[in-house]
Amino acid sequence: MKLRILLADDHEIVRRGLRALLEKHEGWEVCGEASDGREALDKALQLKPDVVIVDIGMPSLNGLDTTRQLLQHDPHFKVIVLTITDSDQVIREALDAGARGFVLKSDAARDLVSAVEALQNKRMFFTPRVNDLVLAGFLEKGHTVSRNEAPKLPTLTAREREITQLLAEGNSSKEVASLLNLSTKTVETHRSNIMRKLSFHSIRDLVVYAIKNNLIQIEIPTGPKAPTGPTAA
Protein backbone atom coordinates (compact mmCIF):
# COMPACT_ATOMS: atom_id res chain seq x y z
CA MET A 1 0.00 0.00 0.00
CA LYS A 2 1.32 3.41 -0.96
CA LEU A 3 2.37 6.00 1.61
CA ARG A 4 -0.07 8.87 1.22
CA ILE A 5 1.18 12.43 1.59
CA LEU A 6 -0.73 15.70 1.85
CA LEU A 7 1.11 18.87 0.79
CA ALA A 8 0.24 22.28 2.21
CA ASP A 9 2.01 25.37 0.85
CA ASP A 10 0.53 28.60 -0.42
CA HIS A 11 2.75 28.61 -3.51
CA GLU A 12 1.61 26.26 -6.23
CA ILE A 13 5.08 26.36 -7.75
CA VAL A 14 6.51 24.96 -4.51
CA ARG A 15 3.82 22.28 -4.30
CA ARG A 16 4.64 21.22 -7.85
CA GLY A 17 8.30 20.93 -6.97
CA LEU A 18 7.55 18.96 -3.81
CA ARG A 19 5.19 16.66 -5.66
CA ALA A 20 7.73 16.01 -8.42
CA LEU A 21 10.36 15.21 -5.77
CA LEU A 22 8.17 12.93 -3.68
CA GLU A 23 6.45 11.05 -6.48
CA LYS A 24 9.81 9.89 -7.83
CA HIS A 25 9.86 7.64 -4.79
CA GLU A 26 8.20 4.35 -5.55
CA GLY A 27 5.50 3.57 -3.06
CA TRP A 28 4.67 7.21 -2.27
CA GLU A 29 1.67 9.14 -3.49
CA VAL A 30 0.68 12.77 -3.05
CA CYS A 31 -3.00 12.30 -2.20
CA GLY A 32 -3.90 15.97 -1.95
CA GLU A 33 -2.75 19.57 -1.83
CA ALA A 34 -3.80 22.62 0.15
CA SER A 35 -2.92 26.28 -0.26
CA ASP A 36 -3.64 27.43 3.28
CA GLY A 37 -3.89 25.99 6.77
CA ARG A 38 -7.64 25.77 6.87
CA GLU A 39 -7.80 23.83 3.64
CA ALA A 40 -4.98 21.61 4.93
CA LEU A 41 -7.03 20.80 8.04
CA ASP A 42 -10.14 19.99 6.02
CA LYS A 43 -8.26 17.81 3.55
CA ALA A 44 -6.29 15.99 6.23
CA LEU A 45 -9.46 15.08 8.08
CA GLN A 46 -11.08 13.98 4.85
CA LEU A 47 -8.17 12.14 3.20
CA LYS A 48 -6.40 10.82 6.31
CA PRO A 49 -2.87 10.98 4.81
CA ASP A 50 -0.01 9.09 6.40
CA VAL A 51 2.20 12.20 6.35
CA VAL A 52 1.29 15.89 6.19
CA ILE A 53 3.89 18.39 4.98
CA VAL A 54 3.04 21.96 5.98
CA ASP A 55 4.70 25.24 5.18
CA ILE A 56 4.98 27.42 8.27
CA GLY A 57 4.07 30.64 6.50
CA MET A 58 0.59 30.10 5.09
CA PRO A 59 -2.28 32.60 5.06
CA SER A 60 -5.49 32.20 7.02
CA LEU A 61 -4.04 29.56 9.36
CA ASN A 62 -0.27 29.25 9.61
CA GLY A 63 1.59 25.96 9.57
CA LEU A 64 2.26 25.76 13.30
CA ASP A 65 -1.37 26.28 14.26
CA THR A 66 -2.40 23.87 11.53
CA THR A 67 -0.08 21.30 13.12
CA ARG A 68 -1.51 21.92 16.58
CA GLN A 69 -5.10 21.62 15.40
CA LEU A 70 -4.40 18.52 13.33
CA LEU A 71 -2.88 16.78 16.33
CA GLN A 72 -5.70 17.89 18.58
CA HIS A 73 -8.10 16.18 16.19
CA ASP A 74 -5.97 13.07 15.90
CA PRO A 75 -2.61 12.64 17.61
CA HIS A 76 -1.67 9.96 15.07
CA PHE A 77 -1.13 12.50 12.28
CA LYS A 78 2.54 12.77 11.35
CA VAL A 79 3.52 16.28 10.39
CA ILE A 80 6.67 17.65 8.76
CA VAL A 81 7.05 21.41 9.01
CA LEU A 82 8.76 23.28 6.16
CA THR A 83 10.27 26.61 7.06
CA ILE A 84 12.54 29.27 5.67
CA THR A 85 14.16 29.85 9.04
CA ASP A 86 15.54 27.62 11.78
CA SER A 87 15.55 30.22 14.54
CA ASP A 88 15.34 28.98 18.13
CA GLN A 89 11.82 30.28 18.45
CA VAL A 90 10.54 28.56 15.32
CA ILE A 91 12.20 25.29 16.25
CA ARG A 92 10.77 25.48 19.75
CA GLU A 93 7.28 26.20 18.45
CA ALA A 94 7.41 23.43 15.86
CA LEU A 95 8.46 20.91 18.50
CA ASP A 96 5.86 22.17 20.95
CA ALA A 97 3.20 21.99 18.25
CA GLY A 98 3.99 18.30 17.82
CA ALA A 99 5.78 18.24 14.49
CA ARG A 100 7.79 15.07 13.93
CA GLY A 101 9.87 16.53 11.14
CA PHE A 102 11.44 19.92 10.55
CA VAL A 103 13.00 20.75 7.20
CA LEU A 104 14.41 24.01 5.84
CA LYS A 105 12.82 24.89 2.50
CA SER A 106 16.20 25.73 1.03
CA ASP A 107 17.29 22.15 1.82
CA ALA A 108 14.01 20.46 0.95
CA ALA A 109 15.36 18.90 -2.23
CA ARG A 110 18.09 17.27 -0.15
CA ASP A 111 16.27 16.51 3.11
CA LEU A 112 12.57 16.04 2.49
CA VAL A 113 12.78 12.50 1.15
CA SER A 114 14.87 11.50 4.19
CA ALA A 115 12.33 13.22 6.43
CA VAL A 116 9.40 11.33 4.95
CA GLU A 117 11.36 8.06 5.11
CA ALA A 118 12.08 8.72 8.77
CA LEU A 119 8.42 9.33 9.57
CA GLN A 120 7.47 6.27 7.52
CA ASN A 121 9.75 4.25 9.81
CA LYS A 122 8.25 5.83 12.91
CA ARG A 123 11.28 8.03 13.52
CA MET A 124 11.59 11.80 13.67
CA PHE A 125 13.62 14.01 11.36
CA PHE A 126 15.13 17.37 12.18
CA THR A 127 17.81 19.59 10.78
CA PRO A 128 21.18 19.43 12.56
CA ARG A 129 20.45 22.70 14.35
CA VAL A 130 17.40 21.17 15.98
CA ASN A 131 19.46 18.20 17.03
CA ASP A 132 21.85 20.63 18.72
CA LEU A 133 18.98 22.04 20.70
CA VAL A 134 17.88 18.56 21.68
CA LEU A 135 21.40 17.73 22.83
CA ALA A 136 21.51 20.96 24.78
CA GLY A 137 18.65 19.60 26.81
CA PHE A 138 15.88 21.71 25.36
CA LEU A 139 13.47 18.80 25.34
CA GLU A 140 14.19 17.75 28.93
CA LYS A 141 11.22 18.11 31.18
CA GLY A 142 11.28 21.31 33.20
CA HIS A 143 13.92 22.79 30.96
CA THR A 144 14.96 26.22 32.12
CA VAL A 145 14.59 29.30 30.04
CA SER A 146 17.91 30.79 29.01
CA ARG A 147 18.87 34.09 30.57
CA ASN A 148 18.82 35.78 27.20
CA GLU A 149 15.22 34.81 26.52
CA ALA A 150 12.52 37.44 26.83
CA PRO A 151 10.00 37.04 29.65
CA LYS A 152 7.11 34.80 28.69
CA LEU A 153 4.16 36.65 27.15
CA PRO A 154 0.62 35.86 28.23
CA THR A 155 -0.59 32.75 26.42
CA LEU A 156 -3.31 33.08 23.83
CA THR A 157 -5.76 30.26 23.34
CA ALA A 158 -5.78 28.44 20.02
CA ARG A 159 -8.85 30.39 18.95
CA GLU A 160 -7.28 33.66 19.98
CA ARG A 161 -4.18 32.83 17.92
CA GLU A 162 -6.35 32.09 14.90
CA ILE A 163 -8.16 35.38 15.27
CA THR A 164 -4.91 37.27 15.83
CA GLN A 165 -3.52 35.92 12.56
CA LEU A 166 -6.64 36.77 10.58
CA LEU A 167 -6.84 40.28 12.01
CA ALA A 168 -3.14 40.84 11.37
CA GLU A 169 -3.66 39.72 7.77
CA GLY A 170 -6.06 42.64 7.35
CA ASN A 171 -9.44 40.98 7.84
CA SER A 172 -12.18 42.93 9.60
CA SER A 173 -13.98 41.38 12.56
CA LYS A 174 -16.92 40.68 10.27
CA GLU A 175 -14.67 38.90 7.77
CA VAL A 176 -13.02 36.90 10.53
CA ALA A 177 -16.45 35.90 11.81
CA SER A 178 -17.41 34.70 8.36
CA LEU A 179 -14.20 32.68 7.97
CA LEU A 180 -14.54 31.02 11.34
CA ASN A 181 -18.33 30.56 11.35
CA LEU A 182 -18.67 32.74 14.42
CA SER A 183 -20.81 35.75 15.13
CA THR A 184 -19.20 39.14 14.72
CA LYS A 185 -19.94 39.79 18.38
CA THR A 186 -17.96 36.70 19.39
CA VAL A 187 -15.02 37.79 17.30
CA GLU A 188 -15.18 41.26 18.80
CA THR A 189 -15.14 39.70 22.28
CA HIS A 190 -12.11 37.61 21.42
CA ARG A 191 -10.45 40.67 19.91
CA SER A 192 -10.98 42.64 23.11
CA ASN A 193 -9.61 39.76 25.18
CA ILE A 194 -6.53 39.52 22.96
CA MET A 195 -5.86 43.24 23.16
CA ARG A 196 -6.32 43.21 26.92
CA LYS A 197 -4.14 40.11 27.50
CA LEU A 198 -1.31 41.52 25.42
CA SER A 199 -1.80 45.12 26.59
CA PHE A 200 -2.17 46.34 23.02
CA HIS A 201 -3.85 49.55 22.01
CA SER A 202 -3.99 49.32 18.25
CA ILE A 203 -4.17 46.88 15.36
CA ARG A 204 -0.60 47.86 14.55
CA ASP A 205 0.55 46.35 17.87
CA LEU A 206 -1.30 43.19 16.90
CA VAL A 207 0.39 43.05 13.51
CA VAL A 208 3.84 43.48 15.06
CA TYR A 209 3.05 40.73 17.57
CA ALA A 210 1.85 38.41 14.80
CA ILE A 211 5.06 38.96 12.82
CA LYS A 212 7.35 38.48 15.83
CA ASN A 213 5.56 35.28 16.80
CA ASN A 214 5.51 33.81 13.30
CA LEU A 215 1.75 33.96 12.98
CA ILE A 216 2.25 35.78 9.72
CA GLN A 217 5.26 36.23 7.53
CA ILE A 218 5.96 39.30 5.50
CA GLU A 219 8.27 40.35 2.75
CA ILE A 220 10.52 43.17 3.73
CA PRO A 221 10.01 45.94 1.15
CA THR A 222 13.20 46.57 -0.75
CA GLY A 223 14.49 49.78 -2.21
CA PRO A 224 16.31 50.09 -5.50
CA LYS A 225 18.81 47.39 -4.49
CA ALA A 226 17.43 43.89 -4.29
CA PRO A 227 18.61 41.92 -1.29
CA THR A 228 21.29 39.28 -1.58
CA GLY A 229 20.80 36.42 0.82
CA PRO A 230 18.56 33.56 1.91
CA THR A 231 15.07 33.77 0.57
CA ALA A 232 11.61 32.47 0.95
CA ALA A 233 10.63 30.04 -1.68
Binding site: G17, R19, E219, A226, T228, T231, A233
Partner: protein, 137 residues
Protein backbone atom coordinates in the same frame (compact mmCIF):
# COMPACT_ATOMS: atom_id res chain seq x y z
CA UNK B 1 11.96 25.74 -33.05
CA UNK B 2 12.88 24.70 -29.51
CA UNK B 3 13.10 27.44 -26.90
CA UNK B 4 16.06 26.72 -24.65
CA UNK B 5 15.50 27.85 -21.07
CA UNK B 6 17.89 28.33 -18.16
CA UNK B 7 16.33 28.27 -14.68
CA UNK B 8 17.86 30.37 -11.92
CA UNK B 9 16.60 30.23 -8.33
CA UNK B 10 18.38 29.53 -5.07
CA UNK B 11 15.71 27.01 -4.03
CA UNK B 12 16.01 23.65 -5.79
CA UNK B 13 12.38 22.90 -4.98
CA UNK B 14 11.25 26.04 -6.79
CA UNK B 15 13.44 25.15 -9.79
CA UNK B 16 11.86 21.71 -9.80
CA UNK B 17 8.38 23.23 -9.78
CA UNK B 18 9.24 25.60 -12.61
CA UNK B 19 10.80 22.76 -14.60
CA UNK B 20 7.70 20.59 -14.15
CA UNK B 21 5.54 23.33 -15.63
CA UNK B 22 7.88 24.28 -18.46
CA UNK B 23 8.69 20.80 -19.64
CA UNK B 24 5.00 20.17 -20.22
CA UNK B 25 5.37 22.43 -23.27
CA UNK B 26 6.39 20.42 -26.29
CA UNK B 27 8.84 22.85 -27.86
CA UNK B 28 10.57 24.03 -24.73
CA UNK B 29 13.62 22.54 -23.09
CA UNK B 30 15.19 23.33 -19.74
CA UNK B 31 18.87 23.17 -20.63
CA UNK B 32 20.33 24.02 -17.25
CA UNK B 33 19.89 25.42 -13.78
CA UNK B 34 21.75 27.81 -11.53
CA UNK B 35 21.36 28.70 -7.88
CA UNK B 36 22.75 32.24 -7.79
CA UNK B 37 23.34 35.17 -10.10
CA UNK B 38 27.04 34.52 -10.63
CA UNK B 39 26.39 30.93 -11.65
CA UNK B 40 23.62 32.19 -13.95
CA UNK B 41 26.06 34.49 -15.74
CA UNK B 42 28.60 31.69 -16.18
CA UNK B 43 26.07 29.16 -17.40
CA UNK B 44 24.56 31.64 -19.83
CA UNK B 45 28.01 32.02 -21.41
CA UNK B 46 28.40 28.26 -21.81
CA UNK B 47 24.84 27.21 -22.69
CA UNK B 48 23.52 30.26 -24.63
CA UNK B 49 19.88 29.92 -23.59
CA UNK B 50 17.09 31.76 -25.41
CA UNK B 51 15.22 32.58 -22.20
CA UNK B 52 16.38 32.84 -18.60
CA UNK B 53 13.85 32.46 -15.78
CA UNK B 54 15.47 34.39 -12.98
CA UNK B 55 14.75 34.96 -9.28
CA UNK B 56 15.53 38.34 -7.74
CA UNK B 57 16.82 37.56 -4.25
CA UNK B 58 19.71 35.14 -4.35
CA UNK B 59 23.06 34.75 -2.60
CA UNK B 60 26.42 35.74 -4.14
CA UNK B 61 24.84 37.91 -6.85
CA UNK B 62 21.18 38.89 -6.92
CA UNK B 63 18.99 38.68 -9.99
CA UNK B 64 19.00 42.38 -10.82
CA UNK B 65 22.79 42.52 -10.88
CA UNK B 66 22.93 39.35 -12.95
CA UNK B 67 20.41 40.83 -15.37
CA UNK B 68 22.52 43.96 -15.88
CA UNK B 69 25.62 41.86 -16.55
CA UNK B 70 23.75 39.59 -18.93
CA UNK B 71 22.30 42.54 -20.83
CA UNK B 72 25.84 43.49 -21.82
CA UNK B 73 27.13 39.94 -22.21
CA UNK B 74 24.21 38.36 -24.06
CA UNK B 75 22.02 40.98 -25.72
CA UNK B 76 19.85 38.37 -27.45
CA UNK B 77 18.95 36.59 -24.21
CA UNK B 78 15.44 37.34 -22.94
CA UNK B 79 15.05 37.47 -19.17
CA UNK B 80 11.89 36.72 -17.23
CA UNK B 81 11.89 37.40 -13.52
CA UNK B 82 9.87 35.02 -11.31
CA UNK B 83 10.03 36.47 -7.84
CA UNK B 84 8.35 36.77 -4.46
CA UNK B 85 8.58 40.58 -4.72
CA UNK B 86 5.06 41.68 -5.55
CA UNK B 87 6.20 45.27 -5.92
CA UNK B 88 5.69 47.78 -8.75
CA UNK B 89 8.97 49.44 -7.76
CA UNK B 90 10.90 46.18 -8.01
CA UNK B 91 9.20 45.40 -11.30
CA UNK B 92 10.32 48.77 -12.69
CA UNK B 93 13.87 48.06 -11.49
CA UNK B 94 13.76 44.70 -13.22
CA UNK B 95 12.56 46.12 -16.51
CA UNK B 96 15.12 48.93 -16.28
CA UNK B 97 17.81 46.29 -15.71
CA UNK B 98 16.87 44.78 -19.04
CA UNK B 99 14.30 42.10 -18.26
CA UNK B 100 11.41 41.51 -20.62
CA UNK B 101 9.09 39.83 -18.13
CA UNK B 102 8.17 39.91 -14.44
CA UNK B 103 5.77 37.57 -12.65
CA UNK B 104 5.14 36.89 -8.98
CA UNK B 105 5.94 33.44 -7.59
CA UNK B 106 2.56 33.08 -5.93
CA UNK B 107 1.00 33.18 -9.42
CA UNK B 108 3.84 31.52 -11.29
CA UNK B 109 1.89 28.35 -11.97
CA UNK B 110 -0.79 30.46 -13.65
CA UNK B 111 1.39 33.00 -15.49
CA UNK B 112 4.61 31.21 -16.33
CA UNK B 113 3.70 29.62 -19.65
CA UNK B 114 2.17 32.78 -21.06
CA UNK B 115 5.11 34.82 -19.78
CA UNK B 116 7.75 32.57 -21.36
CA UNK B 117 5.79 32.52 -24.60
CA UNK B 118 5.67 36.33 -24.66
CA UNK B 119 9.30 37.02 -23.79
CA UNK B 120 10.54 34.37 -26.23
CA UNK B 121 8.77 36.43 -28.88
CA UNK B 122 10.43 39.59 -27.52
CA UNK B 123 7.20 40.90 -26.02
CA UNK B 124 6.96 42.34 -22.53
CA UNK B 125 4.92 40.39 -19.99
CA UNK B 126 4.30 41.67 -16.45
CA UNK B 127 1.81 40.53 -13.83
CA UNK B 128 1.58 41.58 -10.19
CA UNK B 129 -0.95 40.34 -7.63
CA UNK B 130 -4.31 42.06 -7.66
CA UNK B 131 -3.27 44.50 -10.29
CA UNK B 132 -2.58 42.35 -13.27
CA UNK B 133 -0.71 44.39 -15.77
CA UNK B 134 -0.31 41.68 -18.32
CA UNK B 135 1.15 44.20 -20.69
CA UNK B 136 2.24 42.70 -23.90
CA UNK B 137 3.97 45.33 -25.93
Amino acid sequence: MTIRILLVDDHPIVRQGLKTILEGHRDWEVIGEASDGAEAVEKAKVLSPDVMVLDVTMPVMNGLEACRVLRRQAPDLEILFVTQHDSPQMMREALDAGARGYVVKSNAARDLLEAVEAVSQHRVFTALNGRDVAGMH
